[in-house]
Symmetry: C2
Subunit: 193 residues, 2 copies
Amino acid sequence: MEVLDETLKQIHERGMSALRIADVASSMQVSPALIIYHFETRENLLVEALTHAAERDLLKLHRIVREPAPPARRLMKVLEWYAPSGAARGWQIWVDGWAAAMRDKALQKVLADLQDRWAAEIVGIIEEGVAGGVFTVDDSHDVVTRITSLLDGLAVRMVVHKDALKRDVLQEWLVRQVAWELGVDQEELRSPA
Amino acid sequence: MEVLDETLKQIHERGMSALRIADVASSMQVSPALIIYHFETRENLLVEALTHAAERDLLKLHRIVREPAPPARRLMKVLEWYAPSGAARGWQIWVDGWAAAMRDKALQKVLADLQDRWAAEIVGIIEEGVAGGVFTVDDSHDVVTRITSLLDGLAVRMVVHKDALKRDVLQEWLVRQVAWELGVDQEELRSPA
DNA sequence: CCTAGTCCTGAATGGCCGTACAGTAGATAG
DNA sequence: CTATCTACTGTACGGCCATTCAGGACTAGG
C-alpha cells in the first residue's frame, strides 16, 4: 500500500508520536479525510503501518533463510542484514515502536508477533546446524533471544547515540557472540571475501 | 525538585510524548503557568526531568560502586539493581527517552552523558578486578558496552513484551555473559544466599 | 513606608488537528 | 437510463493545550 509506505516514511522523519494525518495526506496529494476513510483512525493507521513494516521485514528474512547455503552462512547473512547501518532507517521505527507499545496493546501484539516469527526463523537455521553437527547449543530458543537482545541493545547505541559505535565493531562483536553461543570457531562464521 | 519527580511520574504513566503540562500542574496543585514560569518550555521540562532521573540513578550507582566489597560482588550488585524488575519503572522512561532522543539533540546529550558515566563507573570496577588478578579482559570499555547492551536488549523484551522474559532468567543470562567476558567462573559471581 | 524582586495566578490567545458529515463524480450492473 | 456503490473531497466542528500577559501577593532591603 502506498499510504502505508508514506506513513512509514513520515514516522521515520518526524517520529511516531508526531505523525500527522495531514502530512501523510498532503504527501500523497489526497485529502486528509481519505486517510480516515480507509483507516478509521490515526491509531489504526499507525498499527497498520507497523504491521506492514514487520511483514516486509519478515518476507526479506524468510528469503534469506531459504537460500541454499550452509546454516552458518545464512545465519550471518541474516544478522548482517538485521544490523543497523548508517541511516538505520528500519531501526528508528522499531525504537519508536517499543516506546509506543509500552502503552498500547495493539502495538504490543504487532511487535510480539514480529519478534516471535523472527525468532522462529532463526531457531530454524540453528536447528539445521545442530542436526548437521556444526552447531552445539543448549536451548536454541534461548540462544536466539540472547543474540537478538544483544543486537537490539547495540542497535540502540547506534541509533540513539549516533555513531558511538561503528558498524564493523558491532558486526565483529556479533560474530564473537554467535561463535560462542553455537560452539563454533569465529572463522567459520566470517563471510568469505 | 518536586516538580521533576511529578513529571517523571507522569511520563511513566502516560509516556513522554503525551506529557501534559496541565497534568503536572494539577497534580502539584499549582497553575500551569507556574511550570512554564520555571522551565520556560515543555521541551525543557522534559530535558530537565530526564537529567534529574539520570542524576538520581548515577548517584545510586556510585554508592554501590564505593561499597567495600570485592569487585565481583559489586559488579553483580550493580547489574542486579540496573536490571528491570516487574514494574520496570525506570526502564520505561529510558525507552521513551531513546525514542525521543533520536530527534532531539538536547536529549541525545543527556542520554549520552548518562551512558558515559555509567560505563565509566563499571569500567572502574572491572579494572580493579583486573588489577587484583580476578578478572581477565581484553578491553574493559568494550566489555562494558557489550554487557550493558545485552542488558538493554533484554530489558526491552521485559518492558515492551511484558513478562516474555522472567527476571531470574535475565539475571542468569547476565551472570553467564559476565563470567565469560571476565574470564571467571559463574559461581564466583552468584550472590551468596 | 517604599521599591523592587520573586513567586504565583486567572484568563485569554492562538493554533493545531483528528474526525464527522454532506455531498460529488465516476463506474458498474440490472 | 437508473440505481447503487465506491472513492474521494471541502468544510467545518470541537477540543485540546502550550504559552503569554497583566497583574496580585508577599518578602526584604534601604
